[in-house]
Each structure stands twice: as C-alpha cells, then as structure tokens.
C-alpha cells in the first residue's frame, strides 16, 4: 500500500526538484550579472552565522573603497557595484556562494577570512580565473600554487613569530606559555611559537588548548599560572579572548598576555575594562588610526561607519583599491589584473605593506600594540623582508 504511493511520488518529487532548481536560478544565481555600464566587485563573506560579527568590518572597508573608486570616475568610465554573497558561516555555503558570485563575472572577488572556507573554494578559484582575495591567515592557503589567490593579510607564518620574539626580546620573558584554540589557526600559531622559542633556546612552560565552544578558561589559566608562566601567548577568537582576559584579572593578572589579532578588533575591545587590559599586548597587521599614512582615511571610516577603523577593514579596502588601479593601468582583463597584482612590491596601504610575489602572499607587516579601551597604541612595527 505504502509502496505504491512511494513509487508514484518519485515523479512528483522530481518535478519538485526541477521547480526548486529553477527557483534557485531565478533568485539570482544564473541571472544577475553586470549591466553594460557597470563593473561588479564580488564579495563572499559571512553575513549570517558565527563569523558574521568578525567579517562585518570587511564589508565596510569594501564599501568605502567602492565609493572612493566611483568618486574618481569608476574604472574606465564604468561604475563599480559591490555584490555580496553570504557564506552562512558554513563550508558548503561558502563554496556555493563563491560559485554564485563567479557566475556573474565580477572583476575580482573578495573572499572570506576563514581559511577552511577558502581552501574549500580553491578548486573554483583555480577554474574561474578571477583574481580572488582572502584575509585568511593559514599558511596552507598560499602553498597551493594558485595564481589567482591573493592574501591580503600577514600570514600565520609571521605573526606568531613576531609575538614570540616580542615576548623574549622586549618583555624579557623566559617562561612563556601558549593558550590556543583547537582549530587551524591555533595549530599554526602553536607550531610557529614553539619554533621561534627554540631558536632562542627556549621551550614553552605549558601549551594549553581549548575547544572553540569552550566557555571556561580557568582550568587552562590556572595550569599556566602553576607552571610559572611570565607571559602567555594567546591564539583564539573574540569570545574566548574576552573570557581569558576577564578571568586572568580575577587571578590578579599573574602573567602578561600577547593576544592574536582578533582580540584587538574594536568590537572586542569594547567589552573589556581598563584593568582587564593591564599587561596585555596584541598583534595586528596595522593601526590605521595612528599611522600618519592612514589616519585621515581612518577618520573618514569612523565617521562613515561609526566604529574605529581596524586593520582587516583597511586590508579589504586596499584590495579593492589595488584591483581598480590594476584595471586602469592594464587592459582590465582578469589575467592582466592578476599579473599586475603579482608585481606589486613594498606598497604601503591603509592596512599593510603589500608585496604579493609569486605565491600571492601579500602582507608583510606586523604591529605590536598596547590596547586600552580607547584604542591601540602601536609599540613597534615590523616589516618582514620577503
């Protein structure tokens, strides 16, 4: 009885599928695409889900860039339009979003800062032949020999090295601990820190790991305190960074902290009090607000978006500006733009100093900062010679 119904409904099911695929198409997948007098700049980031908060500044940076580009007459007389597709903070969504944008033939694509998503998109980035930018830090991204991928970030090959070097040379610490999240970024930081410490003849006094969803950091902090750590390098994400700093203060700040970039975003700093930031240092790629090169730009950003300009927004701004410049200076084809970008070296931008080289790994700057609730104080700027 039931079986007949099943056999039969297979047909209706297929018709349903058909209709849905058509619907998906109609909602803008195959359709869309630029009008003749405009150029599309694609963007694939999380506007919903767990990563939406972290990637919102990127959208701001891109928007500001598009406004500036259009104010200068666009690219070869054509206005630029920013089209954003949502990754949904999830791998399949990221892959689909990229395909969707690529089918609209944008001049370039600003993709996600989540390295796993970009790795999942790698095949399409290769096939589509559209210059794609990522703010992701994982070293693996630029080891794939993909001529179309450009990293607009200082990779995790350098930033943790700077952090560890700072701890040893500037803070004079010998007992250094590591506290990191159990994902690709955390793994990368741990490896590089251990390598750097070894070069100075040191070993970490403790390496503590936490799950991305873990809320309580007390056990890890207590263990590091017991191990006698003088400074702890933290590689994590904003929610956990905040908990770490709050709980460390409850312990009366037994050690200094050097925290990874996402802790230094304005939306993270907002959640912290001055005494929770005592003895805290951070790494960022740039401090647009205080660097004289970018301070005017940062002021405009703050006025436009109501929040302080951070390095990630600035880096995506730079990406869009460099694409526009490449398009104006060449015939504007994807290949020409890519070649131009590969040729950029030592170029100072709002968010970094750019040298893309052969493998597209663009960032070469790390700034060690002292945070306070008002903002970041740049202590030292390191430009890596690559």
């Amino acid at each position: 009885m039931l079986q007949r119904r099943q056999r039969y409904s297979l047909l209706v099911a297929v018709m349903l599928v058909f209709t849905l695929v058509l619907a998906g198409c109609g909602a803008g997948g195959g359709g869309g695409g630029a009008a003749d007098d405009e150029i599309i700049l694609g963007m694939v980031v999380a506007t919903t889900g767990a990563y939406a908060g972290g990637e919102a500044p990127l959208i701001n940076g891109a928007r500001l860039a598009v406004e500036h580009i259009n104010a200068e007459g666009g690219i070869n007389g054509r206005q630029v339009r920013l089209v954003i597709e949502d990754t949904g903070s999830e791998q399949t969504g990221a892959v689909n979003a990229y395909s969707r944008i690529a089918s609209q033939n944008p001049i370039a694509i600003l993709s996600s800062t989540v390295s796993a998503f970009v790795l999942a998109q790698m095949e399409q980035i290769q096939n589509a032949g559209i210059p794609t930018f990522t703010g992701g830090g994982a070293v693996a991204l630029t080891e794939q020999n993909n001529p179309w991928l450009f990293r607009v970030r200082t990779s995790d090959a350098w930033v943790p090295v700077a952090a560890a070097t700072f701890a040893v040379e500037e803070l004079g610490a010998e007992k250094i601990g590591v506290l990191r999240v159990n994902d690709q970024m955390g793994e990368g930081w741990e490896q590089k820190i251990i390598e750097t410490l070894a070069e100075h003849g040191l070993e970490p006094v403790g390496v503590e790991v936490h799950g991305a969803d873990d809320k309580d950091m007390m056990p890890q902090l207590l263990r590091l305190q017991n191990a006698g750590a003088e400074a702890v390098i933290v590689a994590s994400h904003p929610p956990t960074h905040v908990v770490i700093m709050k709980q460390r203060k409850q312990m009366d700040n037994p050690f200094d902290l050097i925290v990874s970039n996402s802790a230094m975003l304005p939306t993270t700093l907002e959640l912290l009090e001055a005494d929770e930031l005592e003895g805290v240092y951070g790494t960022v790629d740039a401090v647009p607000v205080s660097d004289p090169f970018s301070s005017d730009w940062a002021a405009e950003y703050e006025e436009r978006f109501g929040m302080a300009a951070d390095f990630s927004a600035a880096e995506y701004y730079d990406a869009a500006i460099m694409v526009a410049e490449a398009a104006r200076e060449t015939d504007g084809s994807h290949q020409a733009i890519a070649d131009y970008l590969h040729g950029i070296a030592g170029r100072k931008g709002m968010g970094n100093t750019w040298t893309f080289g052969d493998n597209g790994d663009g960032g070469s700057q790390v700034v060690i900062v002292r945070p306070s609730p008002e903002g970041l104080d740049a202590l030292s700027t390191i430009v890596i010679d690559r």
Binding site: T48, D213, L222, R223
Partner: protein
Amino acid sequence: MFAQILVNGIAMGCIYALVTLGFVLVVRAAGVVNFAHGEMVMLGAYLGVSTTAALGLAPAVGLLVTILIMAGVGALFQRIIVQPLHGKHLLTIVMATVGISIAMQNGATLIWGPYPLTMAPFFGSRPVNLLGAVILPHTLIIIALTGLVLAALHLVLTRTGSGLMIQASAQDPETARLMGIRVQRMNTIVFATAAALAGMAGFLVAPLFIVTPSIGFSTMLKGLAVAILGGWGSLQGAILGGLLFGIIETLAAAYLSTAYKDVVAFAVLILMLLVRPQGLFPEKIGEKV
C-alpha cells in the same frame, strides 16, 4: 587551587542542574524531547544583557523580569508548537523543535547583533578570598540562588495542590484527565517552568562568560548528557547529575590534558550508557512507551 576549582565546579554544576531540570521536567511531564531548550538558556542570557545594560535595571530586578518573560515564552512555545503536534510521531515533534531552535538562534542574531556581548557580574568583578580560593561573589550567588529555587520547586511539587496535580498528570495523563485535572494546562505550566529555569540559568551564567547566539546549542548537548548521566526522566537525577557533571568537568579540565577533555567526557558517557544506562539516580517511574 583545588578549593577554587571545586567552587567553580559546583557553580557550573548548579547551572547544569537548572538547565537539565527544566529539560527533564518536559520529558517527564509532556513526553517531549525539546531540542529548543538550549535556546531558552540563550534567550535568558540575552535578556539578562538587555535588562541590565540597555535598560539599566538592577540585577535582581532584571532576573525577575527575565524569569517572567521566559515563563511566557515557555507557555507560548507549548501552545503554539507542542500542542498542535500532540500525538504525532516522536521524530516529527523533535524536528519541529529543531526548526524552532534554528529560527530562535538566528532570530537572536537579528535582534541583538552578531557581536558577542557581556554582562556585569552581581556585586562587581572583584573576587573575594574564601578559604584560600579566589572567588567572584557572583559564583556564590549562583550557588545560593540555585539552592533556593530548587528548594522552592520541591516544596511546590510535593506540598501544594497544583504541584501534586502536575505530578499526577505527568505520571498518568489519562487518569489525571478523568479525575478532572486539566492536563493541557498542566503541560503549559510545565513548559513555562522549564523555560523559566533555563532562562534563569542563562541569566546567571552570562556574566561569567560571553553571550553569543550559539551558547544554546552547546548547552543543549551538555543537558542531554547530564539527563542520561542522572537517569532519563529522573528529576533528582537531573539535579544531582548536573552538579556531578559540573564538578567533574571542571576538575578534569584542570588536572587532565585540556585538548582531549571532550573526548574523555564523551567516552565516559558512552561507557555509562553501556554499563549503567539507567543512570546514576534513576527514579522508579513507568517508562513512557
């Protein structure tokens, strides 16, 4: 260090107890496995942030307001989502609560934004020194309030008329109905109570950590584990299981490798299921087939 870890463990245990108690109440009284229960905790946390930060209410007032709102949410949930699906297959009801859970989680992002939020602890963030342990006053408040609430609940369930009616309709709805007890109203009260307990847990735990839309999901998983640990459907199992779980989790994290602590936790859970599936504190009630 041990005293500190123990006190923190007990506080986390209280939170788990509150969350799981609500979950198990619903399982027991209405036969529903509510996958959206974790989102009630999340909602309680967000309401905590809003009432104390945005509205500037005193924490005690904020807590009361949150509990009242959450009770309302629970009642609405029962009326709109659960009641219409009465009698349907278990998986259908589970799927409905899953759908609502997704909607609630993303709805929270729309209302409160995607950035993490914080809430000030009761009586400030300066820890006190108690028997060598450095403890936030807030932690002690959690333990005290939980004790009060559980005691009150126990009194209501065992000493008052309404409480006995709830127990009756939980154990045997058909007979209860024959005796004139309005079973559906009891169910609504049960859902409201469960949501209020969850919301209270969320409110209390928010100042210790960070409030994001995803805290509900991970709480749900732990609640499920505690319910199994304590004995499925057992109220005292939920409370004692929750306390035990909180203490063991905190101790394990402090003294074992933190990378593998989750693996250990799940392995222990599996062992528990294989060796003593009825849990640590099973109650003798008829299994709802």
